[in-house]
């Protein structure tokens, strides 16, 4: 492996899921299980239909462009990429070429891989429309036009990544950015993220900055999960190294391959010489329009705090550990949940404990997202307050929270209905302690003969009588005090 250096470039397609309508169509932009329900005439290219640009999709694309440190264009254009395929109703895709400028060009992103900071140069970021989705069966195929026209951001990196870990870490960072900036749910289960991966290897003693030293670029199309990206890269590196080792590397032509998830292999599709000529030209139905400097400034101000920024706040201002902060910012929804909980005047460390131990555990166990659960940050805050105010014990608190999550009931209601409370006043506890001692004279004898752990049994009796409501620490010390008196 050290004999060779690996160069990896990514093309990451991410659907913009957070607009009301599609990018050039007034059809709803939402993921629907029922096929062909989010469709307008333009999505099926009925004759005479025309594209109309969704301004919000442009805004979100520009925001992504700004976050990636790209240059934004002075004028926005769209272009036609012409090719025939049944899932492409118009026979062309409206997209952006690098000339004239797309929504973003020449940026750079720093990201964490393990404990290291890495940098990747962004070649360009462009906005385009998604195609329909098709399924193929033995004797027929079906086409679902729900996806046709959904806004799609395509990000193209320079080949600055060197192994599968870096590639996946970069993709995870991008997913987090899209989620935090409210651009996309970036959910690969919904097919919202798709990647093309370019892999080449070169002798490691050569200078990587000189592109003439690079090896033959192999493009792997349609890798639809991050796990797939990792496996495809690793497979491809092995494949290419094997070619170097057996001397056939130089015969390998520049080519496009496809990732076959089932066999875990990349499979040859076509050679560079058979590359499709897409016959790009400027889309005449969308007049070029000026991107005002003021608009860019406005969008800049609207960029929400991203994961890295939030993590810094959690660590430096709230005093959370790096581990806890990392867990909380991994998903934007969790981070939002945490932020909303502490807005209710809950100590961040305490909130963090409750969320990462109980809430996240519940989500992971049941494959839920935080939006799926009944307990709101406000409800959680109310419960934490009861525990902190010693109205209930922390053990009771945890039980109530589990119950609230499972039975979808407000925690405060559970506390009220089941009379969950902690008896904390000395007189009430003392009364029960005396009662128990009266009923258990032999226990006093045993204590006096040296079996001091009989106190546990006596405290248990108090708990039984109070149905767990007595403050355990107070009960214990009072019990010892009373026995000692005798």
């Amino acid at each position: 492996m050290d004999k060779y250096k690996v160069l990896i470039g990514l093309e990451m397609h991410c659907e913009i899921s957070k607009t009301n309508t599609k990018v050039f169509s007034s059809a709803e932009n939402s993921y629907k299980e029922i096929p062909n329900t989010n469709v307008r005439p333009v999505d099926m290219a009925f004759p005479g239909t025309l594209p109309v640009v969704n301004k919000e999709a442009i805004r979100k694309s520009l925001m992504a462009s700004i976050i990636l440190g790209c240059e934004q264009p002075e004028y926005m254009y769209f272009e036609r990429k012409n090719y025939y395929y049944p899932d492409l109703p118009k026979g062309f895709q409206i997209t952006q070429e690098t000339k004239p400028a797309p929504v973003g060009i020449y940026g750079e992103l720093e990201f964490e891989c393990g404990k290291e900071n890495k940098k990747v140069r962004i070649n360009n970021l462009h906005l385009e429309e998604d195609a329909a989705s098709s399924d193929h069966y033995a004797s027929y195929s079906t086409i679902d036009y729900n996806r046709a026209g959904v806004p799609l951001l395509e990000l193209v990196t320079e080949p600055d990544l060197h192994n599968a870990d870096e590639a996946v870490a970069f993709l995870e960072t991008m997913r987090s950015i899209y989620q935090y900036a409210d651009i996309s749910e970036a959910d690969s289960k919904k097919g919202q993220i798709r990647c093309d991966v370019n892999v080449s290897i070169m002798d490691s003693d050569l200078d990587e900055k000189d592109s003439s030293n690079w090896g033959t670029k192999i493009e792997i199309k349609n890798v639809n999960s991050f796990g797939g990206v990792r496996d495809a890269i690793n497979y491809e590196i092995e494949r290419q190294i094997a070619k170097k080792e057996d001397g056939t590397y130089d015969d390998m032509e520049q080519q496009t391959r496809r990732w076959d998830e089932e066999s875990g292999k990349t499979i040859y599709m076509r050679s560079k010489v058979d590359a499709i000529d897409y016959k790009y030209f400027v889309e005449p139905n969308i007049p070029k329009f000026k991107i005002a400097k003021e608009w860019i400034e406005e969008i800049k101000k609207d960029i929400p705090k991203l994961a890295r920024e939030r993590k810094d706040i959690y660590k430096n201002e709230y005093g959370l550990s790096d581990y806890d902060a990392t867990i909380l910012v991994k998903e934007k929804d969790i981070s939002d949940y945490f932020d909303q909980t502490i807005e209710e005047n809950i100590d961040p460390k305490i909130a963090s404990n409750w969320i990462s131990s109980i809430i996240l555990g519940h989500l992971n166990k049941n494959y839920l997202s935080v939006q799926d659960i009944f307990v709101t940050p406000k409800m959680l805050a109310q419960l934490i307050e009861l525990v902190e105010g010693k109205k209930i014990s922390s053990k009771q608190g945890k039980e109530v929270l589990y119950k609230a999550l499972m039975e979808e009931k407000e925690p405060t209601k559970i506390v009220e209905e089941e009379d969950v409370r902690q008896i904390g006043d000395e007189d009430s506890i003392k009364q029960v302690v005396l009662e128990v001692l009266k009923e258990q004279p032999q226990a006093i004898v045993q204590y006096q003969s040296g079996r001091t752990n009989i106190v546990d049994f006596l405290v248990g009796q108090v708990m039984k009588k109070t149905r767990g409501k007595a403050n355990p620490a107070m009960t214990r010390s009072m019990m010892i005090e009373e026995i000692e008196k005798r």
């Binding site: 290219a45 005479g48 025309l50 049944p86 118009k90 026979g91 139905n285």
Partner: protein, 487 residues
Amino acid sequence: MAYMEKSIEEIHEALKNKEVTSKELIEESIQKSKEVQKKYNAFVSILEDVEEAEVTDHLLSAIPYGIKDNYSTKGILSTGSSNTLKDYIPFFTATAIENLNKKGAVAVNKTVMDEFGMGGTGTTGHTGIVKNPWDPSRMCAGSSAGSACAVATGVYPYATGSDTGDSIRKPAAYCGIVGYKPTYGMISRYGLFPFASSLDHCGVLTRSVKDAAIVVDAMKGIDKNDMTTWDSKDIHLYDSITGNVQGKKVCYIKELCDIKQYPNASEELKEHLKNFHQQLDLCKTIGIEVEEISIDSKLLNAIASTYVVISCAEATSNMSNLTGIIFGPRGEGDNYIDMMKDYRTKGFSPLIKRRFVIGSYVLQAQNKDRYFHNAQRVRRLLVDTWKELYKTYDAIILPVGSGPAKYLDGSLDMLNEDTAALEEHMQVGNFGGFPSITIPDGFINGLPVALNITGNCYDDENILNIAYALESNMNYKGQIAKEVNHG
């Protein structure tokens, strides 16, 4: 005189005075449609069971009209005169037609055109050739052939057209009527089957300038479904027609209009240009200043090829939606590629296929700069040249074509390369999106000829007013085609 041969104002007056009902007008128009269909083959569909409309204060209410078959009409067969859409019944109506219908206009037929507008002869529609009502051995020109034929024969006072090169203005000229395409984006193209989107215009064919103004007033307007439309609510074409042209300045291009430029000129061309110069004199007598200007012939001779490159490139792409998978008769084949090929091979006429090949060729990576990008550079050059003239002149006035309608049997026409620029100059109106109107300006051997007035973008009121003044001082307003015998 039949009502359908009158002007829109006159018909409206008759409706208002209850001299005639909407129903009677429809009957007259349908009856006439059938006659014209039999003689000249102008229609794809005649809508016999169309319902009458209420007479309101709107000039177009309850009056029949025709729709070129490349406008999408809900529930009504819309073929674009192509076998690829021979059974296509849309479920939405083009905005321009919706706008007319809202005013109570009554569509009575869909007119034949060159397949998808890609032709200038009126002979390539899937239902056969359209004959010229002045002389059935000649063509109407195209692509709005059926619309021109129907308006010229008095089927109704107007029909919609579309114009990518001169598809409204040339057939209007050959049929002795008025053809007007307003500034690009004044009328929504939503629902118009595209040919070349950057050149396509909606417009109208009528028998008078005023009628053209009335109809386009009703068709136009900003449309949320067409990003290239603009707000024209402050433009009132009909109301702004005064006939006062004092102080207006027009120019004509020497290289196109001077008979000395054509050493092999036919008798028809000589007469056509002579007649044109007489009309220029008329301009002067009614107060319009006329000047001759000169433009490099090289630039003028590049118009036609520039048009071919750009229009074919856009057309190839625009018609890629025609695969027979979602609509149209589905092709046969073992896989989707064979299915598409089968459908397209059977569906398109040879002329269109040739244009697709040209379009693909000029967009190919290795040819794109030489052809497509150069064509766009020349387009810009031409538009800039015209715009420069508009700084001095209200309009450019030029003869349409090299004479009257050409023979359907092409071998009878004298081929003359000298006249290429004269035949194709109206395409500059599409390059620049300029408002452009053709009006009849005389007869040669009993066949109509025409002149064209083209102005700067958004200056439609001015252009129509100049056209109106000229029309009022000539004798060809409201004329109905009569077959002539000659030779």
